[in-house]
Structure formats: structure tokens, C-alpha cells
Subunit: 265 residues, 2 copies
DNA sequence: AAGTGTGAACTAGTTCACAGCT
DNA sequence: AGCTGTGAACTAGTTCACACTT
């Protein structure tokens, strides 16, 4: 590769895969730790272990950024920290607003990982007038009436939504109208945004539900039959298995013949 | 497989793709909202819109669970709620412990989405003796000395780690040793666990960094040169670009000959 | 000898498009 | 007529394995 110039380098020049982008912060964290311990170089194997991925994946990821390693040696820690920081846009600092200063919003405001590495809490915003002026994590809360003004004045492009689900969409709309183009959503709701605006969501209950799915599977693996039966009885009243509307016996079934045990027929 | 018994149905029977599992909670939430509004049926198109995915994906996802829809009509809301709940293991209730009752842990303890749908906060645990006995969100905090006892007595299999990064791994080890097999990690660190234990992580700063990456890209798209230049000057001193160890000019470059536009050279 | 960088093979996930049921 | 369920085509992501560099 290194030799094949003449450009038109595949599709769209700087096409770093999304999955790779999502891992860069992980590498960066591991590298920063090494940097603090004054470790000069790492191999892909060592760094991968520290980041919790496998080394082939890590090398492939880095290959999208360029050739930043030295064969036979490894990667220069400081140099890589810089390159990844730059790639992620962390060499500039990003003012961030947090909207919704309840328990969660307050916890986020106080979170250390925020201040570090390129992010700065520009403002805390809440709709409750009783909160206005109250300092949270050393920053006075501002009223949401001023949301637009704050965003425009500070040139904020990243917003964090930590409001109740019911108002998240309207908050989002206002943020976007005021110029925010990236949103981190902690409210348990789907946000719709125009093209060009990025939304990422963090959702406790979704994560728990995914864990529960796998947990259930583990439980079922050993003592197959009776575990389910016991569970079913316990919750049978709480969660009634509603019959399908139309046909009752029909062809309605899971891929492995579900329902039977629960169905009162 | 109501009909085709004799098992060994393809690879490992109930092979629901991980990506599908991750979306089931989304569908469930949308369905629950419909259910509360007493909507009897939905089409894949409508439900997909509510869940923020496209309808082909939704139908494919549901096809892994079984044939729960009715052609020409759609899906019965109540029935689907039940089926997905069951699939996710939410028809039983899962006791959960939260370890680390700082700002975040307290916020999680008070989070409504917890109590709903199958999860119950069995205990709050903190290492600080000053916290012991103090009620948080109505639940008295217990000391971490009792961690093993609590987990065993309540049969807890899901643990939430909201401690500082420095102690997260040891907390994790103790949870696992005591019988926890699913962990939701809010500490910004990589946890290593034995086979059979699931870990999911929620990491604010990773999410922000991913947003920053895309944000940076957006900025570069319009007015390419000067926007970056301004930024570089501002932060040039703060983040020095360290030279690579060995060769200085060499072949070191991004896949499409990076730097040019931004570099003052 | 050590360890990167990367084509090639593979696996997972998404989207298409339409047959088939109600 | 309407909408699901799903093979088939496609796209993204991962892993392998080894040529190449230091």
C-alpha cells in the first residue's frame, strides 16, 4: 500500500469505520495510562490486552489512521496518544451543555472524565426556577429560558440531555435549533433529529435488559425444564400471557415451540 | 418447534443475533407506550418509526422470535409485549446490587426505569463507613464488608459498578466470586472477568469522544482551511505534537496523505 | 527475532424485494 | 389490498496468516 499513490483511495478518502472510531477512546485511555507510567513503547499485543480487544483488531484499527508503528518494535506511546487525540478531535476543546440537573445531571456535572481530555462543561441548564443560580459541582445552574442565548454565545455544539423522557424531544429540538449538532441522550426515549445531527444514547434500562436476556439463558442451560416452570408459576398472575387476537391455535409459535408451558390453552 | 422435535435445530437452537437482542428493549418500550394508549395492533412500519429503526429490520428481528404477526394486519400489541418480555427474561424479577453510592450510584438508585420492568434494587453498597445505614432513594446503604453475604442471601446475579475506576476491578472480582454473573460497569476501566460472566459498560467520556470525532468532521467539511487553523493556534501550546521516535520524515502519514490542509508548514 | 501492516477469508448485520397469508 | 416473513444480495466488521521492515 504505502506505495500505491495516484489517490482515489477506495471510497471516500478518510473512511474510518464506525466500529473503529468507537474503539479509539479505549485505546486512548490505555495509552494515557501507559504515558503516565512513562512507558515509551507498546506492542499491539500489550496495548490490546490493556484495552480489552484482540491485537489483530487493534492493528487493523490503527491501519486506518496511518502507519504509526515501527515493525519489530511497536508503537511510540506519546506519538500515538497525540495522533489518536487529534483524530478524535480532542486537541481542541469542546464546550458542552448539560440540560436537566436532577440526580443524574448533577452526577454528570461532577464527573471527572468530563473535564479531562477536551471537554468543558459550559453550562448547566434546568427548567426549575428554584434551581436557577444554585451551584452544582461548582457551576451555577441557569434557567432553560436562556438556553438559546447560552448556546449561541459559547458556540456550544454538543449537548447532553438528562431530563425526564417527557420533555427530552422538545429540549432536543431547541438545542438543535440553537445550533447544537451532537447530542448525548440519557433520557429513555427515541429522539428524532434532522440530518447532520448526531445522537448517541445511554440507557440504563436497555443495558440491564440485555444482561437479563443473557442471564436468563445461562439459567436455562443447566436445569432446562423445571427452572422455567417455576418462574412461570411465580409470575403467572402478574404478567398474563394475552392470547393472540385472531386464531388461537394456529401456527403461532416460536422457532423452537415456545409458549406451551405458559399457555393455559 | 412445536412440530419438529428431535432438536439440534440448526446451530444452537435459539440463536437470536446479538444486534437483535440489543433492539428488543427498544421495541418493548415503544410497545409499552402503545399498550398504555390501548392501541390494539401496530404495523411493522408504525412500530419501527416509534422505535427509531426501519421496518425491514424490525420484521427480521421479530422473525427470530417466531411468527408473532398477522399478515395484512400487523402485530397484536399486548401479545408482543408479553413475548418480548418473556424473551428478555423480564417475566421474572431480577434483584440488582449497586456498588459505589457516590453521585452516580445515588442517581442510579433513584432512577425510575430500574424499578419498572423486572428489576429491583436489592441493595446499595459502599465502602465508606460514613455512608452505612444512610438511606439513599429510600434504601439504606450497606457496607461493602457485607457484599458477599448480601449477594448470596438475595440470590443476586446482576451487579452495577459505580465506583471510582481504581477499585472497580476488585469490586468486580468480589461480585463474581460471590456469584454475580452479569455486570453493568459505569467505571471508566476495562474489567476482566472469567468466561460465563457478561460485562456491559456505559462510559460517558467514550460517548463524548465519539461525538467529538463526528463533530470535528462536520466542521472540516464546509470551510476547510481556516476553521481548523484557528483552533490549532488556540491549543497549539497545550498539546504539543511529539515527534515519532525514530525516523522523522519517513513514510509516516495517513492513508490519504493527511496533514496538509491544517499543517502550517 | 520481533512485531507491524494488510490482503484474503470469514462472520455478522442490514437491506431488498417479493412470495404468501389474511 | 395490505402487511408479514424471509431467502437472497449486499455491506460492515472481524480474524487469519504471512510478507515485510527494523
Amino acid at each position: 500500500m504505502a506505495t500505491g499513490r495516484t489517490h482515489r483511495p477506495a471510497t471516500r478518502s478518510r473512511g474510518i469505520p464506525e466500529a473503529t472510531v468507537a474503539r479509539l477512546p479505549l485505546y486512548l485511555r490505555a495509552l494515557t495510562a501507559l504515558s503516565e507510567r512513562s512507558v515509551p513503547t507498546v506492542s499491539s499485543e500489550e496495548l490490546a490486552a490493556a484495552a480489552g480487544v484482540n491485537s489483530a483488531k487493534l492493528r487493523k484499527d490503527f491501519s486506518y489512521l496511518g502507519s504509526y508503528g515501527t515493525r519489530g518494535v511497536g508503537y511510540d506511546v506519546e506519538y500515538l496518544v497525540y495522533q489518536i487525540s487529534r483524530e478524535l478531535g480532542l486537541t481542541q476543546d469542546w464546550p458542552v451543555v448539560i440540560v436537566g440537573i436532577g440526580n443524574l445531571g448533577a452526577a454528570l456535572a461532577g464527573y471527572g472524565g468530563f473535564a479531562s481530555r477536551g471537554f468543558r462543561v459550559a453550562a448547566l441548564i434546568d427548567a426549575d426556577p428554584a434551581m436557577t443560580g444554585k451551584p452544582v459541582a461548582g457551576i451555577p445552574v441557569q434557567h432553560s429560558d436562556d438556553l438559546e442565548k447560552i448556546i449561541e454565545e459559547d458556540g456550544v455544539s454538543i449537548g447532553v440531555i438528562a431530563t425526564p423522557a417527557g420533555v427530552a424531544q422538545q429540549v432536543c429540538d431547541r438545542l438543535v435549533a440553537a445550533g447544537v449538532t451532537s447530542i448525548l441522550n440519557f433520557a429513555p426515549t427515541v429522539l428524532s433529529v434532522p440530518d447532520g445531527v448526531d445522537v448517541r444514547k445511554v440507557d440504563l434500562s436497555i443495558e440491564l435488559q440485555i444482561l437479563a436476556f443473557h442471564e436468563q439463558r445461562k439459567a436455562g442451560e443447566e436445569s432446562n425444564a423445571e427452572a422455567d416452570a417455576a418462574v412461570d408459576e411465580e409470575t403467572a398472575t402478574a404478567v398474563a400471557p394475552p392470547a393472540p387476537r385472531g386464531a388461537t391455535g394456529g401456527s403461532r409459535k416460536g422457532p423452537d415451540g415456545d409458549v406451551p408451558a405458559v399457555m393455559p390453552a
